[in-house]
């Protein structure tokens, strides 16, 4: 029978031996401008990356961005162009596989949780190193979490790393084990902690302590001083022109033959002012792929694909859902003619908007197939949830809303006592108020403007007069966030990565800031919202997959029975990429092209 104390002691010896071996795998920090992958020995714990093809070293992949990175500091990355770069430079404990839509190991090779679902233990890879050869250990993980929990800095990722408003507690029993304890259980815990990118303590701790973290790893930092934990390191940054990444010579990811990744010598982000220039650059052969293409351009690209030696990839349903909603917010700060607690839209419209029958009638009046044929150029699909058909795990085919049925809409409206009393084609309510409202959206989206036009025409057919209003996106954000100066508002909601409903708490919870129709409620305004709130708590907390699915279906059905939002079709996605790259596998979930760029390679010409 083994004596526990002895077993522990020998485990410690093994750990120390392995640690020493791991350190031997790390270099002394010399850097090289060229790109040899075998200059430094592989660590004991490599990560074998699953890829369809085995590739060769060399070559580059060039992608366009309509804006450059704002910083190389992953803690401060808030926008897409910055995340696209920092997510290549820094890894998390876990990563999200955009193709399988599953959480996969990264710095943590495995993890487990205690029966209470609150304590998670992550086992780190032995011998992992930063791009300067310094060992990457549990210390760096603790440091990274300490920085994101720094309230004077308050990075946005901090909001995700809380349960019931409480921060996680972290400890490191040894250099390669991290234990994280949360205030409650959380279904997507392993996925979530991957959002904290691991940055080097040995480089950044001094800056953090003197309060200079916000300006660390800024754009002016010399590339060789940006020490990274990911597959890539910063090779060169030309402000406003391009960002160039090169392989991290210490990276622990390998292919099936055990050859260190990434295959490519360079990954380039070319910065252009807009989508039109991006298309021109692609046409001129200056870049290898375009990430964002409008549906009206799909045909154009397809016609040119053969001559231009590129392929237009059909990447399936978008994860962006589109909808409009009616303003049910109440006045929070008093002003002339508005008392606190009064409906923002006034009593008459509030009486219509707050009635689920009215909302359902509106939903039934809209011909979604016409929107697919028109603004989406045939590349669209009907969608009834924030988790579209693009979500492998969370799309629920049985969930539907009130679809096109103009007769049904007229019946519902008649049931509310709405009649055209003066014969002008517009319904009036019982108090003879003409039934009309203004639909707002952002004027820079042609698809949304064209969709609004169709909605106006459809609703006119059932006797509701819609006035359209287009403003710039910032005004629109102010309208739905703070001044509530709108009656109905049309918008889209992109899925977060990972695409899990639990990530959309701000939308579903009645207390959420993006619970658009009635934001930041102290107490749920309706019984349905109260039920959604409690179902969402269960859905987000439980580790039981069956319960999560059951609650998720119920939440969606409740939302659609009440018709809090009027769903509109989503887009089928296509994107063009040049031929000649192996393992390139564009997907609908962002980043659509770069999610597996560590294994993409340039095919040899035969």
């Amino acid at each position: 029978m083994p004596v526990p104390g002895v077993a522990r002691a020998s485990a410690r010896v093994v750990a120390i031996t392995l640690f020493a071996g791991a350190l031997a795998g790390c270099g002394s920090g010399e850097r090289s401008a060229a790109v040899p992958r075998n200059q430094h020995a592989l660590p004991p714990d490599t990560m074998t990356v699953d890829a369809a093809e085995l590739g060769d070293y060399g070559g580059r992949f060039r992608i366009v961005e309509t804006s450059g990175p704002r910083t190389f500091n992953a803690f401060l990355a808030n926008d897409q162009p910055t995340n696209d770069v920092t997510n290549r430079l820094f890894i998390g404990l876990t990563e999200f596989d955009n193709f399988t839509q599953q959480t996969v190991p990264s710095l943590a090779r495995s993890w487990e949780h205690a029966p209470d679902g609150r304590t998670w233990t992550f086992h780190l890879r032995r011998g992992a190193c930063f791009s300067d050869g310094h060992p990457l250990t549990a210390d760096d993980v603790l440091f990274s979490f300490a920085v994101i929990y720094d309230d004077s800095l308050h990075p946005s990722v901090q909001d995700l790393m809380k349960v019931n408003g409480q921060k996680f507690e972290l400890s490191a029993p040894d250099s390669y084990t991290v234990v994280i304890r949360a205030a409650g259980s959380l279904a997507i815990f392993p996925t979530l902690v991957g959002a904290v990118r691991i940055m080097p303590k040995h480089v950044l701790e001094a800056a953090w302590k003197r309060g200079a973290m916000a300006s660390s790893y800024g754009l002016a930092t010399p590339p060789e001083q940006v020490v990274t934990s990911g597959a890539w390191k910063l090779e060169r940054f030309e402000p406003g022109v391009r960002t160039i990444l090169g392989p991290n010579p210490y990276w622990f990811g390998v292919d099936r033959r055990g050859r260190r990744l990434p295959y490519l010598d360079q990954l380039l982000f070319e910065i252009v002012p807009d989508q039109n220039t991006a298309s021109l650059k692609f046409e001129a052969g200056d870049v290898d792929a375009v990430d964002n293409v409008r549906p009206e351009d799909y045909g154009l690209y397809e016609r040119r694909a053969q001559a231009g030696n590129f392929t237009v990839y059909d990447i399936g349903p978008s994860l962006i859902s589109n909808f409009f909603w009616f303003n049910l917010n109440r006045v929070a700060t008093p002003s002339a003619g508005h008392r606190v607690g009064d409906p923002v839209v006034g009593a008459i419209r509030y009486a219509w908007f707050s009635n689920p029958t009215f909302r359902r009638a509106v939903s039934k009046a809209i011909d979604r197939q016409a929107i697919i044929r028109g603004p989406l150029f045939g590349y669209g699909f009907e969608n009834w949830s924030t988790m579209t058909e693009g979500s492998r795990e969370w799309f629920t085919p049985s969930v539907r809303g009130d679809d096109y049925d103009p007769e049904g809409a007229r019946r519902l409206l008649a049931g509310l006592g709405f009649r055209d009393r003066d014969g002008d084609g517009v319904l009036e309510d019982a108090a003879r108020n003409p039934v009309s409202f203004t639909l707002k959206t952002n004027g820079d989206s042609q698809i949304r403007i064209a969709t609004s036009d169709l909605i106006r025409d459809d609703l006119a057919k059932v006797g509701i007069r819609v006035t359209l209003s287009q403003v710039d996106i910032k005004t629109l954000v102010t309208n739905f966030r703070s001044d509530f100066d709108y009656e109905a508002l049309l918008l889209g909601l992109g899925s977060a990565v990972p695409s899990d409903p639990a990530m959309a708490g701000n939308f579903y919870r009645s207390s959420g800031a993006t619970h658009y129709w009635n934001v930041r409620q102290r107490n749920p305004a309706t019984e349905a919202e109260r039920e959604i709130d409690s179902l969402f708590e269960i859905h987000a907390d439980t580790l039981d997959a069956a319960v999560r699915h059951a609650t998720w279906t119920r939440i969606q059905n409740l939302l659609n029975q009440q018709c809090f939002v009027v769903w509109l079709p989503s887009q089928m996605m296509k994107l063009p990429a040049r031929n000649g790259f192996g393992n390139l596998r564009p997907v609908a979930l962002p980043h659509r092209l770069l999610w597996n760029i560590d294994r993409v390679f340039v095919r040899r010409r035969s």
């Binding site: 580059r60 022109v241 391009r242 002012p273 220039t277 046409e283 403003v471 954000v477 701000n506 930041r520």
Partner: protein, 322 residues
């Protein structure tokens, strides 16, 4: 001369104050702020945005923010920090200013290098086919907006491959020799410089033509012709040199537009200059970066006008004393 200079410098102060106050006020009146872009992100809590707003000082009254800004600029030459780039504004602007000056310098070369000989040629051939053709071309150049000509040239570049589609240099540029680097930058510079340079060409050419025609009607030209000098000699030795004098003053005046004249072309051609930085900062409502860029443009404009006045003052002593 010194009094003149001091007077002009003092006059610049209210201009700078007015421009900064107006810019600040307009930014304040614009809907939303630099954090609006994050408001749609369901993973960012409202409290986070509030804490960022506090950190950026955006929760204070606008006049307090403005006075603090003025104090920092005046006393410490501290132009603030860019919210979106986490970098001092001065560093961001310095990085763009050089590129902008390169572009507008090349454009000025095109404008003046073509305007003077073409204007002179048109004047010498007044009323003939060449003159009419140049007048017609100038009118077209004046009528086509910079944006349109820029996009057309980009399209041609993409289809033919003769010129790169925007940007300032190829990837791997830093590994080239100095000669190859120069050629690479020139290839990237050609189209945007052409677009910026062609806009004022028509006006400058017509001015040159008018000046020369004016001079050709002077008595001393008639006298020169009467002396039996050849027409070439009359034109180059006597008329042209005198006609150029007012053009030099005009050149001084255009110095002021060196920074602001290329904004549209920079955006269209992805040229990493001050114009693009300003445009991006405006869209993101990156307040102090916009302020810095506007301030820089104003300083260059004021300085350009000052140089023009100095040139004029050297030529016309009466202005110094007036």
């Amino acid at each position: 001369m010194r009094a003149f200079l001091i007077r002009r410098l003092l006059q610049a102060i209210p201009i700078l104050l007015g421009v900064t106050a107006l810019t600040f006020l307009l930014l304040q009146l614009a809907p939303g702020d630099v954090l609006s872009q994050f408001s749609q992100n369901p993973t960012i809590a409202a409290e986070t945005l509030d804490s960022m707003r506090h950190r950026f000082g955006l929760d204070r009254p606008w006049y307090v923010q403005y006075l603090l800004y003025l104090r920092n600029v005046a006393l410490r030459l501290d132009f603030g920090e860019s919210f979106t780039r986490h970098q001092p504004v001065f560093a961001v602007i310095r990085e763009g200013l050089g590129n902008t000056l390169l572009l507008s310098g090349a454009a000025a070369l095109i404008t003046w290098g073509l305007a003077i000989p073409l204007g002179a040629w048109a004047a010498a051939r007044r009323g003939r086919r060449v003159d009419r053709l140049l007048t017609a071309l100038a009118s077209v150049g004046l009528a086509v907006p910079e944006l349109l000509s820029g996009l057309l040239l980009l399209l041609i570049a993409a289809r033919t491959g003769w010129f790169p589609v925007g940007g300032m240099h190829e990837a791997g540029w830093e590994r080239l020799g100095w000669w190859a680097r120069g050629v690479d930058v020139l290839r990237h510079l050609a189209l945007p410089a052409l677009v910026v340079g062609l806009v004022p060409l028509a006006a400058r050419m017509r001015q040159m033509r008018a000046q020369l025609l004016d001079t050709l009607h002077q008595d001393y030209i008639t006298a020169a012709r009467a002396r039996g000098l050849s027409e070439t000699r009359v034109l180059f030795r006597h008329a042209l040199r005198n006609a150029l004098n007012p053009m030099i003053t005009l050149f001084g005046l255009t110095l002021g537009a060196l920074v602001s004249g290329s904004f549209v072309a920079e955006v269209v051609f992805s040229w990493p200059g001050l114009g693009r930085i300003t445009m991006e900062a405006l869209l993101a409502e990156d307040r102090y970066l916009v302020m810095g860029a506007v301030l820089m443009s104003t300083v260059v404009l004021t300085a350009g006008n000052l140089v023009a006045d100095l040139l004029l003052a050297v030529a016309e002593p009466r202005l110094r004393d007036g």
